[in-house]
Amino acid sequence: MARTLLSLLALAALGTAAPAAESAVTALTAYPAKLALKGTDDAPQLVITGKRADGREIDLTGAAAYSVSDPKVARVDRTGRVFPLVNGTAEITVAVEGKTVKVSLTAEKMEAPLPLNFPNQVNPIFTKLSCSSGGCHGKIAGQNGFRLSLLGFDPQFDYDNLLKEARGRRVFPAAPDKSLILTKAIGAAPHGGGKKMDPDGEEFKIVRRWIASGAPYGSPSDPTVTKISVFPEHRVVDRKGRQQLAVYAHYTDGTVEDITRRAQYESNDTDIATVSESGLVHTQALTGQAAVMARFNGHVTVFRATVPRPGAAVKFDFKEQTAVDTFTAKKWRELGIAPSELCSDEVFIRRVYLDVTGTLPDAKDVLAFAADKDPAKRDKLVDKLLDSPEYAYFFANKWADILRVKRRNQPNRAYGTFAFHTWIRESIAADKPYDEFARDILVAIGDEAKSPPTVWYKEVRTPEQFVDDVSQVFLGQRLACAQCHHHPYEKWSQDDYWGLAAFYARVGFKTVQTPGVANQNQQNQKQLLFVRSAGSVQNKRTGAAAPMKALDSDPMTATSDEDPRAKFADWMTSPKNPFFARAVANRYWAHFFGRGIVDPIDDMRVTNPPSNPELLDALAQTLIDNKYSLKALVKTICKSRTYQLAAAPNEFNAGDKQSFARYYPKRLQAEVLFDAVAKLTDSPTAFPGLPTDKFAPNRAIMLPDESFASYFLDVTGRPQRISACECERVNEASLAMTLHLLNSQEVQDKIARAGGRADQLAKDKRSDEEKVTELFVLATGGKPSKEKLELALEHIAKHEKNKKLAYENIVWALLNSKGFLFNQ
């Protein structure tokens, strides 16, 4: 019988190891190399790794055959999990394809089960079985009168609810099997959540044993978890491959425990890899990278899987132009993909104009650039654009979104929003170092006339808003979850949240009256931000005043004449800060590439790792080395060869969505599109409420705040600055937008305006061919193909008597084409 089983296993091994067949296994290793097991519950996972002839490491845990020298001492199941049986020593032999590896094993304390500890062993079961998930008992109101802390982050709370509520019927040590927690979980009593446990399963046995032993919380001297780790941390896995993980809890007393079956798992990209409850990762049929999170008792760790393109490695030459290229090329080689060709000059000038200045280049500039023979012309263009006023306007618009420069249609706020916007724009034009820029906003004091950044605090009125906005804008972290519960995908706890909130505690506002003006007249009131000499913020979890504490750092204090925000700014803008430079580097990268290295850009957490960590580090370092010059950062990005790749894929990178092996086309954002339509039709817009002289802002990228009515901007996705998230901007397709571009009076009037583009071209004495070509270059950056040119000329010929009409139609068609609507 044993023999049949073994041969079956061998067959199974052949089946699953099939992808590896192309390259035989040359060596076998086991992790851990030896096992010291304590107590009947200690049943760890083995991870068996084979080394292939090509040097790659592959997982053979599920393909190996396991035998134990003394079957009385322990047994190993087919998934590589070891179960101790009695005290003793033994040796496990693992065999795959004729190769073997041995694991020595000792088992002790097997006489009687060890005492259970509620937070370490029992509560994680309720988390793993989703009892304490947000959709069930973990939600704030609980479920049918029974509430657990979300994902079991507060074991004491859960313990009290289990034992002290519902008149003690939930756990019943005198008759454990009558405990509601068990009868409901196995489906013996009606349970809205259905059957969660098997009466023969491990979870049931542990919970039952815990109840039978008097439902202890555990002793105060019991160790607690300090961190969790995963083996392996990173692997290159073939498509349709698998990788068993082993997860370990590290305790305060120095012990390490296998918790593979007790941890929870989640993949950040299920198109690339999925993960089972027992920590077995399955890669799918796509090339890319996935991060698999393991979570246990508020701690998280991540396994990263890289899934390369199958087949032989593709060779390519890639001339490195900036630090960016070193690390993107390295990633492509790792994934076995190749970058697209360099884009044409016409595509580049349109791309960089739109990305740096939010402005469509003139046709003559495009043609001149293409004709220019200077080999350094692309770099020179980047430099030139960064010195243009449009650069400052365009990026001021970007920062005004996330700094929420917002008037809310209140006239008396206009002075402040205009002043703050001007301050941002001038900072950007002068390339004010980013650390100073951020500090000036954080520690702003006084009134909006003297200190425009105080306007930021008009939207940041509470300690909670302060934490949410600061963390999202400057640290790239979404901390809002931790206001009410431990962050489910990060280590941040409520104490971390309120520790940040405490820096806001002394911010005060007062209203200053203009002498001699009636109180009611708000126009004559000024709001003044000042710093009190004392003040505290209550930690909602503990109810006590929260000590000032930045993320991952020691508590701080501030004397009565200090501004706590300055202390926070010191911490934040230090070159050693792990969040600050990376966050803005990632934000700027996403601006140019349409996707962050960490994506979403302001969700930089352990469990959402960068697709290319070295690249992100290099960008952050560029920023620090250049004294936080944002222009230097833009140059590093735009002068890279990576940024200058064509959008068209090749056979090797067609499926690439995250390694930047080609340029990902972007729909023009609302303001840029609005301005581009105005430029293409040569019909500028005046905005209501702004001066009409020639110096007045006449472009959407120049608007200082959100309170300028425009249906066009609304349907094309302009954010209302509700949140500090760039995700509020919508760049996707929408029916309302398409309808507006195709058939609105607004666009039609711009196209048909007397003196507008179509009118000018109709009257222009040049040949139609020349004029049509110029129109195409302006709209799309490229000359028309022969067919398109002929079609356009035919159309004009048809309307010989009313050329304006024909040109209007051509402008309309170009305006609605992807070549115009997208930056590519």
């Binding site: 959709g135 109101a141 249906y711 996707e732 929408s734 195709l742 058939n743 992807k818 070549g819």
Partner: protein, 429 residues
């Protein structure tokens, strides 16, 4: 944002509610990935293939209608409580409603009410249209029922917007964290103007333009892995169809109905418009009727308004039945709260959130009943208190939307459509 003042209802707190027509966007912004996911989800849910075509009509009675004078009369209560109206029998034994609802009384087998709904004391449509009170939405920005429909159905095809608000924009019709793409289409807004050919453009000219566009627009779609380009192509076809075929324009034009039908809906044309929009394929229509903040002259006001509402709702529900759409369209009618059981010195009733009633019809829900009950004097639920979100949850389920779906808000936090979402089991039948 441009605002056109519509019929402004003055409420007791002196504020004019945002019952104005405000320019709203409409349409959806599903990514290709979303569409694929939805298709997969629908494929997995083969048991109820027709459910995705179901739609909802949300009727809001602004100001808070008096529960004791409509669906929950208390003829045995003391005079200062029971008020002036008498109950009448309906065609369902045991269920009685107000004498001013004679049409509904004849068809109660097609209607149901919930008499133990618990609300909050807020003059806002926020709770009944989003499932969350205004107090919560000021920071949490939960989306309107219709915006959720819009988000999930944007790609259902058909040249109609998924969400139409006949009452303009208000807190309850805002899409919140789902984004402005899921604002309702509001007749009178610019979205509506865009449905008519722009001045200076004829059908022939649009045709010629479209021909040029088809030839010019040859960007390789595969360079855009996000699916936005393909999405735009679909919208271009849809938009042209909306302009040339004019389905929405026609649906909004009640003059297309025959004289007799229009006579039936005289004075309550919004109900007819709602029916026409639903017939054209709209996923959710919301409208409001009357003003119900009756601190004074409660009975005088109601005697005037109740027969109107009666005619609107009866004709609407009967029409849906006649068209075989009763099970595919769920209708709910309610206000933000009930009114004080004890009549005040001005023959009025004041705000009363501990209990109110809701009228529900169709959607495959169990009709011909009155769910829950209030205490003898109509003061609070006698048993079975049912929160507004639980009723809303039932409505979501009736059109095949699981209210435990989550969408990420601006902070990246997954938000449930409804936090409290246990359905009213009596309505599920």
């Amino acid at each position: 944002m441009l605002r056109f003042l519509g019929s402004a209802h003055k409420f007791c707190d002196g504020a004019t509610r945002r019952d104005f027509l405000q320019i709203g966007a409409f349409g959806g912004a599903l990514t290709l990935a979303d569409v694929l996911r939805l298709n997969t989800a629908q494929a997995a849910n083969k048991k109820q293939p027709t459910r995705s075509k179901k739609s909802a009509i949300m009727i809001y009675l602004p100001g808070g209608p008096s529960h004791m004078d409509m669906y929950d009369l208390k003829p045995d209560a003391p005079a200062e409580f029971r008020g002036e109206f008498k109950p009448i029998k309906t065609n369902v034994p045991g269920v009685e409603i107000c004498e001013h609802f004679p049409l509904q009384a004849k068809m109660w087998d097609k209607l149901a009410c919930v008499r133990s709904v618990v609300s909050v004391d807020e003059h806002s449509d926020s709770l009944v249209l989003t499932g969350y009170p205004d107090r919560v939405n000021r920071t949490a920005d939960h989306p309107s029922f219709g915006s959720v429909v819009s988000k999930l159905r944007a790609d259902d095809g058909g040249a109609v917007p998924p969400f139409v608000s006949l009452r303009g924009m208000s807190r309850g019709t805002e899409p919140g964290y789902l984004g402005i793409a899921h604002r309702p289409f509001t007749p009178g807004g610019q979205g509506n103007a865009n449905l008519r050919l722009a001045n200076g453009v004829t059908t022939d000219r649009l045709d010629a333009r479209k021909n040029l566009l088809d030839k010019f627009d040859d960007t390789r779609r595969e360079i855009d892995a996000s699916g936005t380009m393909v999405g735009m192509d679909a919208y271009t076809e849809k938009a042209i169809e909306m302009v040339t075929a004019g389905v929405v324009r026609d649906a909004l034009d009640v003059r297309k109905e025959d004289e007799k039908t229009r006579e039936r809906y005289k004075g309550v044309e919004q109900f007819l418009t709602a029916r026409r929009l639903i017939e054209a394929g709209v996923g959710c229509v919301t409208l409001s009727v009357g003003g119900w903040d009756t601190h004074g002259q409660n009975f005088k006001t109601l005697a005037r308004q109740l027969p109107q509402v009666d005619r609107g709702i009866a004709n609407l529900i009967n029409d849906l039945h006649d068209r075989g759409m009763a099970d595919d369209v769920v209708t709910v009618m309610w206000g933000e709260f009930g009114r004080t059981p004890k009549v005040n010195m001005n023959a009025g009733r004041d705000h009363w959130s501990p209990v109110m009633s809701a009228l529900v019809a169709g959607g495959g829900l169990k009709m011909g009943q009155a769910v829950g009950a209030s205490t003898a004097k109509g003061e609070r639920p006698k048993d079975n208190p049912l929160s507004v979100p639980r009723v809303l949850s039932t409505i979501y389920r009736a059109i095949g939307i699981d209210p435990s779906l989550t969408f990420n808000n601006g902070a990246g936090r997954p938000m449930y459509v409804l936090d409290e979402r246990e359905p009213v089991k009596e309505l599920l039948g």
